[in-house]
């Protein structure tokens, strides 16, 4: 964790050093006060010297004022250092996550990445902001007060020898237990977030299939697990306070008894006894503070570990460095004996095995097959969202792993299965396709994707603000916007992963026509469920359980392929009903 702090303090090193120095000065000034007070009780009052009382009082005032100035300065530097650190760390994480491959994203899950970037970073920043003060002030107080106590009365200081180890023992045990429990709790929070996010993303599916009760049970279970984890931590942590108070009061009482006896035997002064009691409580409070900040530290440690996990991940898809002689974009796609499995799933089953086929430039190819047959996985290999586990994927005759990622993905227009638009205007969203595109090109892309009319019907047209995830347009409109975004790219390869499902057949046909007209040199690869979406394809690939179970045109497959016939028949029945 220390390493994490040190490496991300860039630009705030001065403040990070000055703050502790001021904190130490502040503590020392404060600690001198009881000594001055003892002088008042022991010397000034018995002598009845009022002028000496005034002088001592003034000295205490000066000490307090200096202490306050140091405290304010320390607070300022601590705020700058800690929040600066937080900013650096957040940016570093964000940049790192941007370089993650799809496999890395899957492995962490986006919910967990979000918690790490928000809650965990904030916890660490708070730790630095508040904890730093306690972590430095408390040990200084502890050592200084202990030294003074020893000088005042070494015999009485023995009380500490009895109390402090007990306190530390209790704290250490509690901390060990709590650190582990905190981590469990954090996992439960992630779990709850996951259930929640799944539900929010798929609320339509949940409602369509009346899965509400099932989801409710799942959520309730998650919530109860979190409660149990919270109780486990909570009920242990609260024991710290009473134990500490008991130790503090116990020590005070012991000092009062033994010290009182010494005063009665004239071996010790009352003023010194009073000062000693102050220091004892100062020492024990400091031990408590150290414990508290260590506890926070242990929580921050769990957070630090989770952040480091992200920072230390080597993106599984590495961009190649150095230039390469690349062929001009034509749109030829070749799968050469490709096998693939998701490492994240860990089951070891191949999602695709020994797939070989070639798509010539300008062709229109469709992929059909049941769910879980690897259709999405297959197209995700082309822009190198994942790396193959065997064989090779070639674009224009070159292995995709030999392209710089930006060049490769620049040649491909992709409409993903999960359509995501971003907060901003429609124009801004479409321009993602090609940042340098002209207004006319953008309008054309919108027309081609059959999105122009509904956009113009919106009150602000292309300047309409989309909310997060594009939640203020309908599903079909969203799909068309996503298609426009991909078409604006003028890609040599256009891939549509089941992204016309919410668009009606007539609109879909119009979109297909504009592919033929305005992207006639581009290779088009689509994944679709409806036969009507694929029947005009130059070639249809049928995927079944990790391999290609048939290929050909609509007519050929209808004659020869049992799976295709089955799909066709089921959809025809649907039409007749």
């Amino acid at each position: 964790m220390l390493f994490l702090f040190l490496t991300h303090l860039e630009g705030y090193k001065k403040q990070a050093v000055l703050s502790p120095v001021l904190i130490v000065l502040e503590a020392v000034c404060e600690l001198l006060l009881p000594l001055v007070m003892a002088e008042i009780v022991d010397t000034a009052i018995p002598a009845g010297d009022t002028r000496y009382i005034f002088r001592l009082g003034a000295a205490m005032l000066v000490l307090s004022a200096v202490s306050m100035a140091c405290g304010v300065g320390a607070a300022k530097y601590a705020a700058f250092a800690s929040q600066g650190f937080g900013g650096n760390l957040r940016q570093c994480l964000f940049d790192k996550i941007q370089d993650f491959s799809f496999a890395d994203i899957d492995r962490f899950s986006s919910a967990s990445l979000i918690t790490r970037m928000t809650n965990d970073v904030n916890a660490m920043t708070m730790m630095l902001a508040m904890g730093l003060r306690m972590l430095i002030r408390a040990p200084v107080m502890l050592i200084a007060a202990f030294t003074i106590a020893l000088v005042l009365n070494a015999r009485l200081a023995l009380v500490l020898v009895a109390v402090v180890p007990i306190m530390i023992g209790v704290i250490v045990v509690l901390m060990k237990v709590c650190t582990r429990l905190f981590e469990t709790m954090q996992k439960k929070i992630d779990g709850l977030n996951n259930v929640l996010q799944e539900n929010l993303v798929a609320i339509r599916v949940v409602k369509a299939f009346v899965r509400g009760n099932h989801e409710r049970k799942k959520f309730n279970r998650s919530s109860e697990e979190l409660m149990q984890a919270g109780l486990n931590v909570g009920l242990r942590i609260i024991a710290i306070m009473p134990v500490m108070i008991l130790a503090l009061n116990g020590a005070t009482v012991a000092v009062l008894y033994f010290g009182g006896k010494m005063v009665m035997q004239a071996e010790f002064d009352l003023g010194d006894l009073q000062a000693f009691i102050s220091y004892i409580s100062q020492i024990l409070m400091s031990v408590m503070m150290v414990a508290m900040s260590l506890l926070q530290l242990s929580r921050a440690q769990a957070c630090a570990r989770r952040i480091s996990e992200v920072l230390e991940t080597e993106p599984s898809v590495q961009d190649r460095t150095g230039p390469a002689a690349l062929p001009a974009p034509k749109g030829r796609v070749e799968f050469r004996d490709v096998s693939f499995k998701y490492v994240a799933s860990g089951t070891g089953d191949d999602v695709l095995s020994h797939i070989s086929f070639t798509v010539e430039p300008g062709k229109f190819v469709a992929i059909v097959g049941g769910t879980g047959t690897g259709k999405s996985s297959l197209v995700n290999l082309i822009p190198r969202f994942y790396d193959v586990t065997g064989g090779a994927v070639l674009v224009d005759g070159v292995d995709v792993r030999d392209y710089p990622l930006e060049e490769l993905r620049g040649r491909i227009g992709m409409v993903l299965q999960t359509n995501i638009l971003f907060t901003g205007t429609i124009r801004e969203n479409l321009m993602w396709g090609r940042p340098g595109a002209t207004e006319e090109e953008m309008l054309q892309a919108a027309r081609d994707a059959q999105a122009y009319d509904f956009i113009m019907a919106l009150p602000d047209g292309f300047d309409t603000q989309l909310t997060q995830g594009g939640s203020n347009v309908s599903g079909g409109q969203k799909q068309r916007l996503c298609i426009a975004r991909a078409m604006l790219r003028k890609p040599s390869i256009l891939i549509l992963d089941d992204s016309t499902s919410a668009v009606d057949s007539a609109t879909e046909a119009a979109i297909r026509e504009s592919f033929a007209k305005n992207l006639k040199d581009s290779t088009v690869i689509i994944i679709a469920q409806r036969i009507s979406s694929v029947q005009y394809a130059d070639e249809i690939l049928i995927l079944d359980d990790d391999h290609i179970a048939g290929r050909g045109t609509h007519e050929e497959l209808l004659r020869t392929n049992a799976i295709y016939q089955e799909i066709y028949r089921s959809q025809q029945e649907g039409v007749q009903e």
Binding site: I40, S67, A79, S110, I203, G250, L416, I420
Partner: protein, 335 residues
């Protein structure tokens, strides 16, 4: 970032109807009044025993330690009584915290589950109009915040108030002239708190709205990361995030400075009052024969009296933000 259609995320507005929200929350905690009564009794007991225990020191000093006699047995007996009082206080503190943790965790669990139930029944259009990030944060941030407040702030507020009243009463009882000194310093302290608190709250709100923007961006870009990568939009995303992140950092540095400053300022104001008390107490002792036991106990109290005030001002901030969070939760439930 919250566009014209996006509701502010994570910004802690003032609660609209504090009383109603609190009483509604309490109903989540427990349906019967018994556990709450138990908590209050424990609280009272722990405050009383803490104050009482330390007050016993006055007589111990006057009657034994500084009396010139050598009645060790009498000293031991008085000390034993003090130990007994402290033990009771300690048990009461644990009893109170344990009850509150139980009630709090169960209450939040119930709150989360009811909120989720409600979510299942909401029309689809609701989900189209509300960003997922905002809904998520009601479950996690808001619910957690409410939990923390239920467990800690409310109790700590009550105990701080009791403690403050008790300390003031005892100090008046020990020596009302000396109390005048403290009263002046306390008045100054409150003014400083008010000034600092006002500024701190304003900066805190700025910080929270910048945080909302940062969190919203994180949520959106990470959920849509696959699209970002498909369009090789990584560098633009980084640049945009840097702007938001820097704005948040600047706001947080300011807000943090003010909130961190309160601690040393308050602590040292109490030291100043300690200095005044020491000087005037000494004078009173010389000129008017004020008993030394009283002075010692009074000095201890004068150091403690700032703590409850500090606590109250801190807890009020968390309480307000949590109540605003609770209101956002209830908002969904009341649709």
């Amino acid at each position: 970032m919250p566009g014209p259609h996006g509701a502010p995320r994570g910004g802690y507005a003032k609660p609209k109807n504090m009383g109603k929200t609190v009483s509604r929350l309490v109903r989540y905690l427990t349906r019967s009044k018994l556990p709450l009564l138990l908590v209050f009794l424990c609280l009272l007991l722990s405050v009383l025993s803490n104050l009482g225990g330390s007050y016993m020191m006055r007589n111990i000093i006057n009657d034994f330690i500084w009396s010139g006699c050598t009645d060790f047995a009498g000293l031991g007996l008085s000390i034993l009584k003090m130990v007994g009082v402290f033990l009771v206080g300690c048990l009461a503190t644990y009893g109170q915290s344990a009850t509150m943790v139980r009630l709090g965790e169960k209450g939040v669990n119930r709150l989360r589950q009811e909120l989720f139930d409600k979510l299942q029944d909401l029309p689809l259009s609701y989900f189209d109009q509300h960003p997922h990030g905002e809904l998520m944060s009601r479950f996690t941030n808001d619910a957690d915040n409410v939990l923390m407040v239920l467990e800690q702030s409310v109790v700590s507020l009550c105990s701080s108030c009791l403690m403050f009243v008790g300390l003031v009463a005892l100090m008046l009882f020990i020596n009302w002239k000396l109390f005048l000194v403290i009263a002046v310093i306390l008045a100054v302290t409150m003014q400083v708190f008010k000034a600092l608190g006002g500024r701190s709250r304003r900066f805190y709100q700025e910080q929270q709205s910048a945080l909302g923007a940062v969190n919203g961006e994180i949520q959106e870009v990470i959920e849509g990361l696959k699209v970002v990568k498909a369009f090789t939009h990584e560098e633009q995303a980084k640049a945009k995030f840097q702007l938001l992140n820097n704005a948040y950092r600047d706001a947080a540095q300011k807000a943090n400075f003010y909130s961190t400053m309160i601690m040393p300022v308050a602590g040292n104001l109490m030291n100043i009052s300690y200095a005044f008390t020491a000087a005037f107490g000494g004078l009173l002792s010389v000129l008017q024969g004020f008993d030394l036991g009283g002075l010692v106990v009074y000095l201890n109290y004068s150091k403690q009296v700032g703590q409850p005030l500090n606590q109250i001002s801190q807890q009020m901030t968390t309480l307000l933000s949590a109540m605003a969070g609770a209101e956002r939760i209830f908002e969904v439930m009341d649709i």
